[in-house]
Amino acid sequence: MDMFWKFIESTGFAQMEWANVLMILIGIFFISLAIAKDYEPLLLVPIGFGMVIGNIPYPPNMSLSVYDDWNGPGGLSNSSVLSLLYFGVKYGLYPPLIFLGIGAMTDFSTMLSNPKLILLGGAAQIGIFATLIGAVFLGFTPEQAAAIGIIGGADGPTAIFLASKMAPELLGAIAVSAYSYMALVPVIQPPIMYLLTTKAERRIRMKPPREVPKLERIIFPIAAFLICTLIAPGALTLLGMLFLGNLLKESTVTERLANTARNALIDIVTILLGFTVGASTQASTFLTQQSILIFGLGALSFIIATAGGILFAKFMNLFLTDKINPLIGAAGVSAVPDSARVVQAIGQKEDAHNILLMHAMAPNVAGVIGSAIAAGVLWSVLGK
């Protein structure tokens, strides 16, 4: 009978706390959002299910969570399987691999055909630096504030990469926050877009992009890599992988490698990353005052980034003869391609025949480069 009671005490039911229940419900909510609303399902399903797994209580003598790693008693032999999978998050291994896949699937030709739109990707990074100030104001260290600010770049892999280097203690909260806001792009961005633009501005039609020759598309990843990393060497890993992926695609002689990078590899890494990030949100480490502040600052960062892009597009219009539709400034946050899709949807509501998607992709991919440079700068200056 003692054995039976011992077993009962070891079950999840016996050890469950209200905080675990809350986190499991949040996980299920994420899965529901992904399935019912189609919000970033590739991310929210693994993260949501990871949250459910990470919040099942277990006996203390077992190694099951992502935190039961090789640094604990027993070393590597006593580390959990989840902790080994979490290695890629903890040491920033997965984000560069995701960037490789993104590079291999991204067509930079709209950006190449209209280079001035790149600046919109820079303007949206204002969210990162404004939030950095806000986070330090609220009492975070500059390193933690930098990692929190990157959420505004709407670039999950970059946020994880920087958090793993500068604020590993906040990694779970930052990662979940970044991916949640990326998934909520269709909810967060439209009100800001309507607020900052007039009906006439939303109806602006832009010239169709020119066809970009193959040679330009091949030269771009090499030249852009050199420019970016000579200025901000901290971005070397992320941008190196991004531009390598793009070179694999554009060179056309490595189609097999490009195919693997943009399909199998990125899918595998996305599953591992999403799942382990979700599993790292154990109630005991996740439900803290700091996490709530991080979520608040993340939202602020995202809103400022969106507004920054739109306002900068309006500023550019003061000097341009061929006007830019300011909606595409919102795509400067690097949630690829969701923010570009939102721009297209809002633009088409005003003018059904106005195709903004291809134009919005330019600031969108420039935003990826911009947020990686911002992360590199912050890491170079604040990294120890």
Binding site: M111, L112, P115, K116, I118, L119, G121, G122, Q125, I126, I128, F129, A130, L132, I133, V136, F137, L138, G139, F140, T141, P142, A145, P213, L215, E216, I219, F220, A223, A224, I227, C228, I231, A232, V253, T254, E255, R256, A366, I369, G370, I373, A374, V377, L378, V381, L382
Partner: protein
Amino acid sequence: MQTGIENIIKHQVIELSFMGILIVFCALTLISLFLACLPKVLTIIEPFLPQATHGHQQTATSSSDLLSPNEDQQAIVAAIGFTLHHRQLNKHT
């Protein structure tokens, strides 16, 4: 946790933010300028660039790639054309 304006001044984050956004803009502006100049530069240097050669440098393709649907259709059309042409020739001879 130390909070407030003093914390911002102590850690010089306003300077850091200003410098950070400036560097991001600087890098993206350089890329933008480079891309704006690239087509003109390429027009000048293109005659001197080596022509792409294909052959052993091509990557191995999977069996499904060997005959794409488009090529498949072209092959069928060619076969039909050849058969019709052959019949026409037979009629006349």
